[in-house]
């Protein structure tokens, strides 16, 4: 499973799912920030830049597509938007299952 998380509330949402994902084979894709660095310390994380605007969506999706090709996850989990959308698009292209979480 790959969990995709930005900074702030999105991170809190994904961390709230810990009782579930702590028993799974999990890796993370996250935006580097003070909170993500503290909270994800010791976990397998690929740090990616936060795509700032929609024109960057194509680049971000291509980056996500390549990363998913290497990881081959069964499931992608996220609660966010900016970093998440490219991953969900790439997952669609890779025919990987996606699990969005909107509390």
């Amino acid at each position: 499973m790959v969990i995709v998380s930005g900074s702030g509330g999105v991170l809190l949402d994904t961390l709230a799912l810990r009782p579930w994902w702590q028993h799974q084979e999990t890796s993370w894709v996250a935006v580097r920030a003070a909170d993500t660095e503290i909270a994800l310390h010791g976990l397998p994380v690929t740090w990616l830049p936060d795509p700032p605007t929609w024109p960057h969506l194509v680049t971000a999706t291509w980056r996500a597509f390549r990363l998913l090709g290497r990881r081959r996850p069964d499931l992608i989990v996220s609660a966010g938007r900016r970093l998440t959308v490219p991953f969900f698009l790439a997952a669609r292209l890779r025919r990987c299952r996606r699990c969005g979480w909107k509390p």
Binding site: S7, P19, I38, L75
Partner: protein, 163 residues
């Protein structure tokens, strides 16, 4: 004098407007300010970033929590209390969307927050929030799902997705 926690969240956006607004309170109350990406340094104890566990302790210990309209609002409400909330505004480059303002309007209508739309009125909001009755959230939020229930729900969802 009340123990007040001010938090602007752990995201990358500054919220100087709120930090400046709480500065006058430092003279009268026991304040701790989590300043995040803000450049303003308040004249009271502060830290830019706080680990989540420490934040949970500080939220539990504080008599009053002043926060941006982010996830902290729910954390305070889960403790059975009403937070004082100031929304970040996209027009002031304090965030990238209008979500905080719309979220705060919904919570204000539901009576679950003390919304402050003009930061000049923040001291008055704190003064009216000093009694325990003013801070108590009624009716209380329903309890969060248990770890077992959460795991069971997500196992079910993932099994369905994976066939």
């Amino acid at each position: 004098m009340a123990a007040i926690l001010v938090t602007v969240g752990m995201g990358p956006w500054s919220f100087d407007r709120l930090i400046r607004a709480v500065e006058p309170l430092c003279a009268y109350h026991d304040l701790f300010v989590q300043t995040g990406a803000s450049a303003v340094v308040p004249p009271c104890p502060h830290a830019r970033w706080i680990p989540l566990d420490e934040m949970q302790c500080r939220l539990s210990d504080a008599a009053i929590v002043i926060t941006h309209a982010g996830s902290t609002v729910r954390l305070v409400q889960r403790l059975g209390r009403v937070p004082i909330v100031v929304a970040r505004r996209r027009a002031l480059a304090e965030t990238g969307s209008d979500r905080q303002e719309s979220f705060l309007r919904v919570e204000e209508r539901a009576g679950r927050v003390r919304a402050v739309w003009a930061v000049e009125t923040l001291p008055a909001a704190v003064a009216s929030h000093l009694t325990p009755a003013a801070r108590k959230l009624e009716p209380a939020l329903p309890p969060a799902v248990s770890d077992e229930e959460l795991t069971s729900i997500l196992e079910r969802v993932s099994r369905r997705l994976l066939g």
